[in-house]
Amino acid sequence: MVGAGVVGAACAYYAARAGLAVAVVDRGSVAGGTTGAGEGNLLVSDKEPGPELDLALLSARLWHELAEQLGPAVEYEPKGGVVVASTEAGQQALRAFAAGQAAAGVTAEEVPAERLHELEPHLAPGLAGGYHYPQDAQVQPALAAAHLLRAARRMGAELITGEEVTALERGPDGAVRGVRTVRRRLAAPAVVNATGAWGAELAALAGVHLPVLPRRGFVLVTEPLPRVVRHKVYSADYVADVASGSAGLQTSSVIEGTPGGPVLIGASRERIGFDRTLSQEAIGRLAAEAARLFPVLAEVAVLRTYRGFRPYLPDHLPAIGEDPRVPGLYQACGHEGAGIGLAPATGLLIAEQLTGKRPELDLAPFRPDRFPAQ
């Protein structure tokens, strides 16, 4: 497994559980890339019926099991999500969206405007209504990745950090034989690319095109508070922003409390490469939107902000499964902003494929070779 983020950790966990000999190698630290910059969203609410929702529903079940196995340290909270609409037209759009999801197995309950405050007492007045999604949940992503890796190591997996993979070794038939790092050679008949936003680089080492691009996001962290926000709360605009292919700056806040106390305010989106510069516009817009949804937050201080790079693929679906172009190379990247949520299903499907089992979900929509070479 190349990559010690949550996806690599989940792949290692399920592969080790299936009895495979596993090594995880990362040029940085555990959860040092996108995982450590996430909010830990385990969402089904923002996904339209289709392959990503199927993946999210499978993952929601797996996270529930994992939370019991990994223990309270991963801060798993099955808190549910609340999506709110500011206009009647927005509420109608939510209604249509939820009807489609219901057919795919998502539980969604319409919340009329007058009952919104029973769910979230601090919500702004005057909203048109919303939907409650009890299957949405949350984990602390860095802890979740670390504890998945710890569990994998207990089953025999090896963890190597601070060591960059510099080459993919292939035999005369083209099949993968392992990787070379700056310090050693790791022989393996299968290599999993779980390098997230940097997935295109590892694919290029194998000579294949996988157009993963970074989509930057900022998250604001408030001062520690008591529970002022009970669910994951976001505006209906968020779904449209996630689905958009635009490179320009988009903000639609997702607001949630944490067991640690601070409220997290996400999620801006923009494609400007691996640029770590602070964007005052992005954080200003996020703060303003959060204060519009929860006026009480206008008086609360933001202590800090952090940014990360979502691994974006042009059709918003991850690449999961063996790459038909390079036997033995398995792709497990490109989950965009949903990687924490989708990690367990990804790990399970990869482990099933690695052990010759029939994967629980059809992997065709996630084929790594679906993007035409440039």
Binding site: E120, H122, E223, P224, P226, R227, V228, V300, A301
Partner: protein, 110 residues
Amino acid sequence: MEQPVTRRRTPAGLVGAEPGPGHHIEFDGRSVRALPGQSIAAALWADGVLAWRTTRTGGRPRGAFCGIGSCFDCLATVDGRANQRLCLLPAEPGTVVTTQEGHGRADLAV
């Protein structure tokens, strides 16, 4: 005449400061002397007060740690506003500081 050692080693003594006349702030209902330009944290330290907040989970004492606004350890309630960094706020005449319990925002809990 030579100054006593303890006096000489105060920050003001070390830099040869000649502050203007002092004034007072209030800390948990009592008067604390402050100098012009002093931060609230410095005024409390000069008065021998080292802790003005208790932690959220263990109720343990906290005061100034980094002293430069980065660590958010020195929070207290100032003039009714919770979570103010005392190392950054000037000790203005009449400022009212109260020890903060935990996040200091219990009124917002739902």
